[in-house]
Amino acid sequence: MILAGAICIMSLSSCEGIFSDIYDEPVTTSEYGFVEPSTKGEAGKIYVNATDYKRWTYIDFSDERIDTLGVDEAEPADWDIAIHRYDVKTNGGAVAETTESDIYKAIGLGNIAEESFVEDIWTTETIITDVSNMMAGYLEYKESYYNPEMSKWLNVDKSEMPPIYTPSERVYVVKMKNGERAAVKLENYMDDSGVKGYMTLRYIYPL
């Protein structure tokens, strides 16, 4: 009787569950970079895989190009901002945080006071390159420049496990070293499956 019941039960279509169609299927993409370029004042979209602690992703707005290189490798020739996990640095530029959450409202913010722009700082214990020894009580860091203003786009409170992620939902204006400006907003820091480090950026360039 038990065997018959077993065969019966395992053959039921419901043995792997019901109502699976109420859920969304995660869209997996390997297309990174300027997936929607910004043109004529329209916001574009950049998708970055920043899951690797040992890599920087360099973004060049004018050439609409991204380069992903190891933290020990030399920086590329031309780039404007770079992303490592949720950390940001600029190529000699500066960043101002606006109070806007709508990226199009940044278009009207052409005259942000110079003193609002924050330049990069040199840091020795911010860019984490290895977390595998966290349980043993230490992390590995890499010295680097780091822009504290733009890195406010995602607050990661590590005082609890798991950390609490709070996006600022603000638009940031990046001033490049040649004086050009771009508006950038972190739209998402996860992929559809909730894996953190997949960064979706909305941007307008030139501003």
Binding site: M1, I2, L3, G5, A6, C8, I9, M10, L12, S14, C15, E16, G17, I18, F19, S20, I22, Y23, D24, E25, P26, Y53, V131, S132, M134, M135, A136, S159, E160, M161, P162, I164, Y165, T166, P167, E187, N188, Y189, M190, D192, S193, G194, T200
Partner: protein, 641 residues
């Protein structure tokens, strides 16, 4: 039974002669006494048995107790009613149970005798086990593996739904408290000839809120639940009863701004109970339970499932009474267990078939002597593992004292998760399953003495659980990660004392205390965090007049501090440091006023003495101090009587 009637009669006569109580009050006393003597329980033996005669010590939490506790779900209730139980937080504020030294994966939770699917960090979703339609809760502590199989090594908690014999009943209730805590419930039951229907719906909500002090966590994650259930019974003939049920549960937790954790459960079942002849019956049932977890991405509005546990269970139980008093119970279960989880490699899935057969002989030699022997054989397909466990228990009554003793072999087979986990813990380390795990096995001993006189009851018991091959995680140097493994010789022993007393003038009191001591061999990758001393108590008063009634209940629980030997390294288990977690006491005052036919107004003050943890450990309650709630319950059917 004759003796019981004599007792009731004697009590009634004495009361009538010696006291000036009203007829209503005496009627209430008789009912209470009658109920105590005739309470029927099913959980300890899987067949109906008088509580007073059962050799398996069973704690019953009645519908009245549930009302007095003002509890929303099973965790609220068990903590209020029983010592030796603690619900605390595991990582990410996931609720974790410790019951007499056993964790959530060793305590079997049942709804009307049926298992519930799904787990998070080894615990079922306790918020799913709401009390909106609960008639009573039966708790059997100690190993019940020989009756229920794996996961019942530490005990069984069975939530039994309310059944009404009235033509119809309708209750609507609402509760509102601090932190925007809301609870709304509706229960409708209808009896029409051969058909009975019971419908229940409940919604709860609480806001997220900041704790007053920091610690392991600084913010309580709020959220909400929806729970809908329907049970339909069709009495085909006098001998055959069919019951169908269906349920849906949804919970959303707002742990992160951009990701909301969602939990869903779909359940259903069909059960047939056939009385073959006097003393012979057969119960056959099929049960389906699917528990899903998904992440709702606020930014992309996508709801992506990353966990699903589906259990299909077929069950048959046959009872045969010999000589009008000895009962043979034989039966079997077969379960298809499907698990898809983000904790498997590439979000993979695994299936397992478990099957078992069990037999139990309930020997009622005399009214004051009962012995039950039973055994069970289990098979698990994925590990090709089989296990035998047995149990013998006895009850002997001498005058007003009932002695009980029980030996039970317990076991817990490794779960699919424990066998096949392959989980990257945020890039920090990996957790690996172990297909070669052995089952946890245990020898469990329990003795108790119960004294009952009228409405006074006192129980003193002791227990000892010797657990071998306990499953836990330990650091593997070879894999440079955590791996599930077996450890040796964990022993848990304790003393359990309970006193309850009801008076003729409506006053009732109950106090329960438990001492628990857990011993783990030094060097094993497991450290006990079980609090040694715990107690619960209640003082209540009930008084009814013609058009007004009042019930006041003061519930308290006291938990001692506990010193835990925590490992100084995750990769070595030799060096430890003692960490002391503070004890605390929580009190709750609940006043229910029956203001008119079936209308109750409820006022609750929780954390009466304004306990605020100075540091929020995972084992401290998530309270910001004293809190208030008001509620309303309307029995609509009472208005038409």
């Amino acid at each position: 039974m004759k003796r019981a009637i004599v007792l009731i009669g004697l009590g009634w006569t004495l009361a009538a002669v010696a006291s000036p109580y009203t007829e209503e009050e005496l009627d209430s006393i008789e009912k209470a006494l009658n109920k105590t003597l005739s309470e029927v329980v099913v959980t300890g033996t899987r067949t109906p048995k008088l509580l007073k005669d059962s050799p398996i010590l069973t704690r019953v939490i009645s519908a009245g107790d549930i009302k007095k506790s003002d509890a929303t779900n099973i965790s609220d209730l068990l903590q209020a009613e029983l010592p030796g139980i603690e619900f605390s937080y595991s990582m990410n504020q996931q609720v974790s149970l410790n019951m007499q030294g056993f964790g959530g994966n060793s305590i079997l939770f049942l709804i009307d005798g049926e298992r519930v699917a799904g787990e998070t960090l080894d615990n079922v979703d306790y918020s799913r086990l709401n009390l909106n339609d609960a008639g009573k809760i039966e708790i059997v502590k100690g190993a019940a593996s020989s009756i229920y199989g794996s996961n019942a090594v530490g005990g069984v908690v069975n939530i039994i739904s309310r059944e009404s014999s009235e033509p119809w009943t309708l209750n609507a209730n609402a509760r509102y408290g601090d932190h925007n805590e809301q609870r709304y419930g509706v229960n409708l039951s209808v009896n029409r000839g051969k058909i009975s229907s019971s419908t229940s719906a409940q919604h709860t909500h609480i806001d997220s809120y900041d704790m007053k002090n920091g610690g392991d966590y600084s913010r309580f994650y709020g959220g909400g639940t929806w729970n809908v259930k329907e049970r339909l019974t069709y009495r085909v003939t006098d001998r055959l009863k069919l019951t169908g049920r269906a349920g849906y549960f949804f919970r959303e937790r707002n742990a992160q701004t951009n990701v909301h954790d969602r939990y869903r459960d779909f359940s259903g079942g069909l059960k047939g109970l056939y009385d073959l002849s006097a003393g012979r019956n057969l119960e056959v049932s099929y049960s389906f339970d699917q528990y899903d977890k998904s992440d709702y991405m606020v930014a992309s509005k996508k709801d992506v499932r990353d966990y699903s546990n589906v259990q299909n269970i077929g069950k048959a139980v046959y009872n045969h009474t010999f000589g009008g008093k000895h009962i043979l119970t034989v039966g079997g279960d077969v379960m298809g267990d499907y698990l898809m989880t983000y904790q498997f490699e590439d979000n993979g899935d695994k299936k397992q078939l478990t099957a078992d057969g069990f037999a139990q002989f309930d020997m009622n030699f005399r009214k004051d002597l009962n012995v039950i022997v039973g055994g069970r054989y289990d098979y698990f397909s994925e590990s090709s593992m089989s296990h035998w466990s047995g149990r013998v228990s006895g009850m002997y009554r001498k005058d007003r004292v009932t002695f009980r003793g029980c030996y039970a072999g317990g076991f817990r087979a490794p779960t699919l998760k424990e066998m096949y986990m392959n989980f990257d813990m945020a890039g920090i380390f990996m957790i690996y399953g172990n297909p070669d795990l052995k089952p946890e096995s245990s020898n469990n001993f329990q003795v108790s003495a119960e004294y009952t006189k009228g409405l006074f009851n006192a129980t003193l018991g002791g227990f000892c659980n010797l657990v071998d091959n306990r499953i836990t995680t330990a650091w593997s140097q070879g894999l440079q990660g955590m791996v599930y493994t077996n450890i040796n010789n964990v022993s848990i022993a304790g003393i359990d004392a309970n006193v309850s007393w009801k008076t003729r003038w409506g006053l009732g009191a109950r106090a329960s205390y438990m001492f628990t001591k857990e011993h783990v061999k030094r060097g094993d990758p497991y450290s006990s965090s079980t609090r040694p001393h715990t107690a619960t108590m209640r003082l209540d008063y009930t008084k009814r007049w013609k058009n007004y009634g009042i019930m006041a209940a003061l519930n308290g629980r006291v938990l001692s501090n506990v010193t835990v030997d925590e490992f100084t390294s995750t990769s070595s288990y030799e060096e430890t440091e003692s960490v002391k977690y503070p004890g605390y006491t929580m009190w709750k005052l609940n006043i229910t006023q029956s203001v008119w036919k079936g209308i109750d107004v409820i006022a609750t003050i929780d954390n009466l003495f304004n306990y605020v943890p100075k540091y929020n450990y995972s084992s401290t309650p998530s309270t910001t101090g004293i809190s208030f709630a008001i509620g309303l319950s309307i029995d609509v059917d009472q208005m038409f009587k």
